[in-house]
Symmetry: C3
Subunit: 419 residues, 3 copies
């Protein structure tokens, strides 16, 4: 996963353009992604797909022709979606077009101007402070022209048409945790799922530019929307911090309970917070007209780490074992979703005699009941058609897998049926 | 407000009589109060309006004619509603008729006998202890005779017939916090409301004798009762203590939420407690046959400060800035009630594009979203017809005014409609 | 109660057989218990009544004929339900059939093998460790043959056919807290109830072998089941620990609230825990096909004290005053159940005038309202047909008896009616 992030890091992604398109093509080498194109000017919900932006070069050069700010060194140096410019101007005229971070004078900020035509540069405060007065060559060799918006979509079919949505924004240029980490974990997860012999759910992965990408997808897939039963936005999953899960707008959807259950039983540092209408594409999936059961799975959340949206969110911030841990956690969540369900105890009056079915120890009297037998009793007692196995696991304080294996044993003995 | 309390302090109010009537007349100089009279003997719900009580003088004088307990010095000295007496009697016969406060030997208690004919005096323990044996002149020059019960009513009409009730008991004689403070804040609030260019709600102020006054009003206004949507009883709002709000019997009525919201965002010491069927006239408004959404707004509650119902609840206990603070808090609560409502996002699928409407900053990427933009997103996401603006403010952890101004901006852009 | 436990302690009870039968006969001397017999082989729900087990003697004797493990000394020494054996065998062959407690080398464990034919002994680890190699006489003089399962049932009729179930398992041999204590408290409670002049509920006491006994009773009393409104399983109620109440599966049934209320107002150490599908016969009563409002009342719960299911759970672990305290607590719970109900305030608009009915003090103004008057106000305000007296007591923070006596006073004055 870290190698994939490293491969993608130098490409200058944006919400449209060849950087994004090339990134998706590289993902196609790993998973059979479909690349979809939506023409500039297309009406999508309340939005219009913008012109396509492409950039070849951008720099500020001093009187001696030395590039003092250079897009080729770091693609964050250009205000993303800058219109072209090629002018000589004094520092005083240039200066208002340069974004810096006074509190982090060595870091280059990430700034965008997608929906308002502007040009600009982003640079380290220390570099800008050192610029002598004088004339500068200001060059942004970009184009903003009708074209299309690209996004990637991968559908891994399952036994049912009910879907699990996994979405990650793929529009950020040289930012590693936000969100090359999310893209890398999503690809690894897709590979894992595709390798499984069976899947109950159909899995849909989206690699999309933030906001406008999910708007485009929602606008063109309203038929799919009702089939999405669970979903996660993956972002910032590569740093060394603990897990942070932001609940779906519904607040107690099965996805919300499944993530909470998995993180609790993993015994790792984590926090779970309520939905707020700001963040990543869950904003769109959870807008009131859709209100999908989609939460946002992160390590350190957007805006909560100093390197966020700066050049310091680079490949060294993303740790291979943090990526692995994120993959393991999300994978465990999907295992819960796959295995969850409501069952009905077919012998609901009194306990069925488990001993005669080989499910209960022969010798009685010990102070502790073995965990498996206790799990059987939990499943039998609460399988009344209204408690899911996940809810039973929560009541029992047991990991889901233990409750699921008890349910399997009871199913095998004809003591349980799907409700 | 403190001047009004000072003006009213010397009058000997009771649940009927000229002291109460004169107090209401003095309020009429400030607000266009209607004074209503209910004849003695009138059946009001389960009660009967009592005879009217008036008093001219009352004293205990020693053998030398010196007044050792004198109503003219402090009107608490007479048991409120005492029947007339004019007798000579030894101290031993008089003593059982004198109420004192052994724990506060310099304070005079406040005692009443509205519904059982009795006579008595209230005096400082120290004074009573110093009385030598001997004969005393015992004089209460009062009358208890058919007449009427007076209360004040002020209706400030609004755009709708839905009403907000503000009620304060006005029957206590020389007690300043309980409840001249409530009367003073109510008058100031009425002046403020009348001066506003528009009001959504109709406001009804009641200045009534405790218990029997609200019973009288409820008995004769059953047609108005269903229109009362919110209400507050105002009492003990002048001392230096923090705010105490006692919820309506409903417990989570909009008034209960509005007061809690305002007090939290004012950042002042406060406590919020559940309804109990004892206290002030909320007992009547919240009786199960009416169950109005009326809470009780106080600073230090009845019975919880040592000066309560004693001569020490005097004008020095009431602080001008405490009255101002109470007025500001209640006024802020009414602002919330006026501005609250449920709206519907007219672009509920995905976020509407706020930038093209001038509601969103052009440059993206900063770690923090400005508060106003965040408020817009909160209103849009939860304006699904079932969340009020106050509920959205609570979810967002933002002051109501910020959410309301976001809603106004969205209304102006046609993105929202009343639900 | 302790004397009864002492009387029963030496009998070798099991889930069937003469030890159980004789125990029930001894209870018949104290209360008019009916002893019911269910034939071996009878199908009861998912179970089959097992063969009847009886035992006359059991021992392990060494080469010199000395009994090194002797059932006559302590009936726990035999694996309960052992099939007969009479063999000579070397220690190595015998050893796997002896259960010990390595952590408590002087205690004899309690083990059973009801549903799997086996033979065995239970002994102190220290005794077993001291056995020299050699041949041993291994004798269990038991029979396992068609017969019947016995249980005791006592019905004390009340004014209604609605029932309160009190159930205690009576199958454990020489174990005093678990559950001679439960049997003793149940007998004392039955005597108390029978002596009362009237009872609203019909009380049904069951003295049954664990699991199979409640299964038998449920299988043959499905007509009674719907009439059971409240119930308690009584177990481990004689040790010196605080009370532990395990809620019914419903979690907030009146019995759950009544026990919580009583224990809180008794001011004794106690804990209340949610239902779990393991423990005593509440497992059967609370199985999803019955889901009765039956909780489990204990002092130290099963498995939570070291002496549990060992020879150390003997008569010295059970304290007479602990039995008395348990009886008092359960009796108080039944008093709440008997007295609870929903009423309707017949003067719901405003407070009724209590003074004219002699229910309210004549002199007003004191800072504290007397508790009885406050209780009247609580009952009046919340008697709207949907709050029970117990719920009102909980809201008021008052003991149930105070609320009930207020309700009685209001009923006597015609201010309340049953809802």
């Amino acid at each position: 996963m870290h190698a994939l992030a490293t491969d993608l890091y130098p490409l200058c992604r944006s919400i449209t353009g060849d950087g994004l398109r090339e990134s998706l093509r590289r993902l196609q080498k790993l998973v059979p992604l479909e690349i979809c194109e939506v023409k500039s000017g297309t009406q999508v919900l309340d939005w219009t797909v913008p012109k396509e932006w492409n950039i070849r070069d951008a720099y500020v050069a001093d009187a001696k022709g030395r590039r003092v700010i250079d897009f080729n060194q770091l693609n964050l140096h250009v205000l993303n979606y800058s219109v072209p410019i090629r002018e000589k101007m004094p520092l005083a005229a240039l200066r208002p077009h340069i974004f810096t971070l006074p509190d982090h004078p060595d870091w280059v900020p990430y700034r965008t101007s997608y929906y308002s035509e502007a040009w600009g540069f982003c640079a380290a405060q220390r570099v800008v402070d050192a610029l002598p007065d004088g004339e500068y060559d200001v060059v942004i060799d970009s184009t903003l022209a009708p074209g299309s918006l690209s996004y990637g979509q991968l559908v891994i079919p399952g036994e049912t048409r009910d879907e699990v949505l996994l979405s990650c924004h793929s529009c950020h240029p040289a930012l590693a945790n936000d969100n090359l980490s999310g893209m890398a974990v999503a690809v690894a997860l897709a590979q894992q799922l595709a390798a499984q012999p069976r899947r109950r759910f159909t899995y849909r992965f989206l690699f999309i530019p933030g906001t406008i990408g999910s708007i485009c997808w929602l606008a063109s897939h309203e038929d799919v929307v009702p089939r999405i039963k669970h979903g996660l936005v993956l972002s910032c999953v590569g740093d060394a911090g603990g897990f942070n899960y932001k609940r779906s707008r519904r607040g107690d959807a099965p996805i919300d309970r499944a993530v909470a259950h998995v993180l609790r039983h993993m015994g790792v540092p984590h926090a779970i917070t309520d939905f707020v209408p700001y963040g990543y594409d869950e904003r769109q999936y959870c807008s009131p007209g859709f209100n999908l059961a989609v939460g946002c799975f992160m390590r350190t959340p957007n805006g909560k780490y100093p390197e966020y949206h700066t050049s310091a969110d680079n490949l060294s911030l993303v740790k291979p074992d943090a990526l692995e841990g994120s993959l393991a956690a999300v994978s465990a969540v999907l295992t819960v979703l796959e295995g969850d369900g409501c069952f009905r105890n077919l012998s609901p009056k009194g306990e069925p005699q488990l001993g005669k079915r080989g499910l209960y120890g022969a010798t009685g009297g010990a102070a502790q009941l073995p965990g498996f037998e206790f799990a059987l009793l939990w499943v039998l007692n609460f399988s009344d058609g209204s408690h899911s196995l996940l809810e039973i696991a929560e009541k029992a304080g047991m990991p889901f897998a233990q409750i699921r294996s008890a349910a399997d044993a009871l199913l095998a003995k004809g003591l349980l049926e799907a409700a």
